[in-house]
Amino acid sequence: MKDILIQVKNLSTAFREEGRVTQILYDVNFNIYKGEVLGIVGESGSGKSVTSKTLMRLIPEPPAQILGGEVLFEGDPNQNVLKYTENQMCSFRGEKVAMIFQEPMTSLNPVLTCGYQISEALLLHQKITKAEAKRRAIHMLKMVGIQSPESRYNCYPHELSGGMRQRVMIAMALCCSPELLIADEPTTALDPTIQAQILELIGDLQKKNGMTVMYITHDLGVVAETCQRAIVMYAGRIMEVAKVTDLFRSPAHPYTEGLMKAMPKLHEKCDRLYNIEGNVPNFAQMPQGCAFHDRCPDCMEICKTQQPQLVEIGEEHQVRCWKAQQAAGCAQGV
C-alpha cells in the first residue's frame, strides 16, 4: 500500500455572495500518495482550481466558505489542515505544500526583486542567515535553469520574460523542498516551446527530490505526458479516477471519453475537432440527477433523476456513472 500524503474527505466548498450560497465542490474525496504525479483535469468551472486552493486554504473566506469535509495531512486525523490555526497554516504553506500559478506575469510582486521573493520563503521556514538564504536562492535559480543567477537575483519581475518568471516561481516554490507541489495550469499562459521546457523542469526536479506533484490542468496532453494518475472533475464533482494508462486506454465515463475525442491528434486527419455538446452547467442551477446528463450522449432515464455515486470499477479505477457501473456489473441500489 502506498503512503498517503494528503487525504481529502467529503470536501464541500461554497461561495456566498449577496446572501446567495452557490456550492462549488460536492463531496470531493481523493488521496494524494507520496511520490506520485497526480493530475486533476476538467474544463474551466469544474472546480479543479477551487479544490487545490482549498487544500492550502488560499481561497478568500469570505466570500468562499468551506461547508464541510477534512483535508488530512499524511492521512492523520489529528492533522486536519482545515482546522489548523493561522500560525500552523503559515508553516504548512510553503514548507509542506507549495504552489505555482497560471499567470507568471502577475504572480510575482512587481516591487520586490526576484531574489528577495525567493529568500523570503527560505527565511520564513528555515533558521538560516540572510547571506545563507541568498546563497541558496541563487543556487535555486541556477537549478531551475536561469542563466547568470547572481545578476538575476537582483532583477525585478518586469525585467524577465514569462518563461523566466515561471522558473522563478518554481524556484520560489521548491526552495524549501516541500513534500507536495501543486501546479495550477503552470504552462497555460506560456508559449508552446516554453511549456515543454517548464514541464520537463518540473518532472526532473520531481524525480530528483522524490517530490509529489499535483497538476491542475484542462489539457489532457499535459496529463498524458506527466502524470501517473488522473482525476477527472466536472461541475464540482469527481467523475472518474484512474491510472493515466487506464484512463487513456479505456475511459469509463462518457465525459472523459468526450474529452479524449476533443483532443486534436497528430497522426490522424480530421476535418473538424470533436466538441462536447452544450456547456458546463451553471453552479446556481445544477440539473437533477447526474450533473452531466443533459450533455451526455448515452443518457438513460435513471441519469435524469438520480445522482450516481463514485464507485470502484477496476483496480484503482473509480467512476461516477450509471452506465459505466452497469457495464462493470457493480450497479449499486436500484
Partner: protein, 318 residues
C-alpha cells in the same frame, strides 16, 4: 536614472514660461491701473501720466513682460507698487507660514489617513469600513474654511482651548506657533485625510486581489507581513499621486484658510495683492507657487522611480 531626473527637470522650463506668460496676460487685463489706484481721486492727469511713466506702464506689453522676466532671471521680482517692498522680500516673509501650514497638513493627513485606509480595506464590508468610508465621504464634501469656522466656534469661543487667529513664528516661540497652527492645519488637512483614506482603501483592495498576494500567502508569509511588505508598497503609488494632486488644491485653499485664521501667509498676501492690483506681487507669488507645484510634481515623479522599479526602465508606468 540620472538622465531621467535631468530630463524631468528640463521639462519644467517651458511650463514655467507658459505660466508666466498666462499670468502676465491676465494681470494686464485687470481693469484700472496701479497709477490711478495709488494716486486715488486727488491725482491730476499729469501726475497719473508721470506715475505711469515711472512704473513702466506705458511700455508695450511684450516689453513690460521682457523687463519683468529679465529681472526674474537676475533674482529681482520687482517691488510692490504700494509699499515699495521688494517682492522677493515679501515672498520670503510670507512663504514660511504657508509652507508650514501645507507641510503640517500633509504630514497630519498621511499619518492619520494611510492607516485608516488600510483598516477600511482589511475590514472591508464590516461596520468599521462603512463608518470610516462614510466619514471620509463627508470629509471630502466639506469646504475647508467652513471646517475652520466650526473649529473656531468649538475650540476657541466655546472651550477656549486654542487661539482663533494670530501667528507666532516657530523660531520665536515653538509651542505658541504650534498652538496657533493646530486649527488651521486641521481645517486644511481634513479633506486630504479623507482623500487619502479613500485612495488607500481602494488601492489596497486592488492590490490585495492581485495574484502575487496569493503567491505570498502560498509561501507561508504571515498576514501582517503580507499587508505591509507585499501590499502596502504597491498600494502607496496611487496614494502618493493623490496626495501630490491635492497639494495644489491645498495651496489654493490656503488663500481662504489664511483669511479665516488671519495667518500672514502667501495666500492671504496674494488675495490682498489681487484686490489692490499690485501686479508685481501677484506675478511674483503666482510664479513662485506655480514653480513650487511643478517642482513638487517632479519630485513625485522621482519618488516613483524609487518606489516602482517598472518606471526606471520603461520611462513610464505600464
Amino acid at each position: 536614472m540620472a538622465t531621467q531626473i535631468v530630463k524631468k527637470l528640463l521639462s519644467i522650463i517651458p511650463l514655467v514660461l507658459i505660466i508666466s506668460i498666462i499670468m502676465f496676460a491676465l494681470i494686464n487685463m485687470l481693469p484700472g491701473d496701479a497709477a490711478l489706484a495709488l494716486l486715488g481721486d486727488s491725482g491730476t492727469l499729469e501726475q497719473v501720466e508721470q506715475m505711469r511713466e515711472e512704473l513702466g506702464l506705458n511700455d508695450s506689453m511684450p516689453a513690460q513682460y521682457w523687463n519683468w522676466l529679465k529681472g526674474v532671471l537676475q533674482g529681482d521680482l520687482g517691488d510692490s507698487m504700494f509699499t515699495g517692498q521688494p517682492v522677493i522680500d515679501r515672498i520670503t516673509e510670507r512663504m514660511p507660514v504657508t509652507f508650514e501650514l501645507i507641510l503640517l497638513s500633509v504630514v497630519f493627513a498621511t499619518i492619520i489617513g494611510v492607516p485608516l485606509g488600510i483598516v477600511c480595506a482589511v475590514k472591508r464590508n464590516h461596520m468599521s469600513d462603512y463608518i470610516l468610508s462614510a466619514v471620509s465621504m463627508v470629509g471630502v464634501a466639506m469646504p475647508a474654511f467652513w471646517v475652520g469656522m466650526l473649529l473656531i466656534i468649538l475650540f476657541s469661543t466655546k472651550l477656549h482651548l486654542l487661539p482663533a487667529s494670530g501667528y507666532v513664528p516657530f523660531f520665536e516661540d515653538p509651542l505658541g506657533n504650534l498652538k496657533t497652527m493646530v486649527l488651521p492645519v486641521f481645517a486644511t488637512g481634513i479633506a486630504l485625510t479623507a482623500t487619502i483614506v479613500r485612495q488607500t482603501r481602494s488601492a489596497m483592495l486592488d492590490v490585495l486581489g492581485q495574484d502575487y498576494m496569493m503567491t505570498a500567502k502560498s509561501k507561508g508569509v504571515k498576514y501582517r507581513v503580507q499587508l505591509f511588505r507585499h501590499a502596502l508598497k504597491n498600494a502607496l503609488i496611487p496614494v502618493i499621486t493623490a496626495i501630490s494632486m491635492q497639494i495644489a488644491g491645498m495651496i489654493g485653499g490656503s488663500v481662504v484658510i489664511e483669511t479665516v485664521f488671519l495667518l500672514p501667509g502667501m495666500g492671504k498676501s496674494m488675495v490682498d495683492a489681487i484686490f489692490q492690483r499690485d501686479y508685481p506681487i501677484v506675478m511674483g507669488e503666482a510664479l513662485v507657487i506655480a514653480v513650487f507645484i511643478i517642482l513638487l510634481n517632479t519630485l513625485v515623479d522621482v519618488i516613483y522611480i524609487f518606489i516602482d522599479p517598472r518606471i526606471s526602465h520603461s520611462g513610464k508606468r505600464k
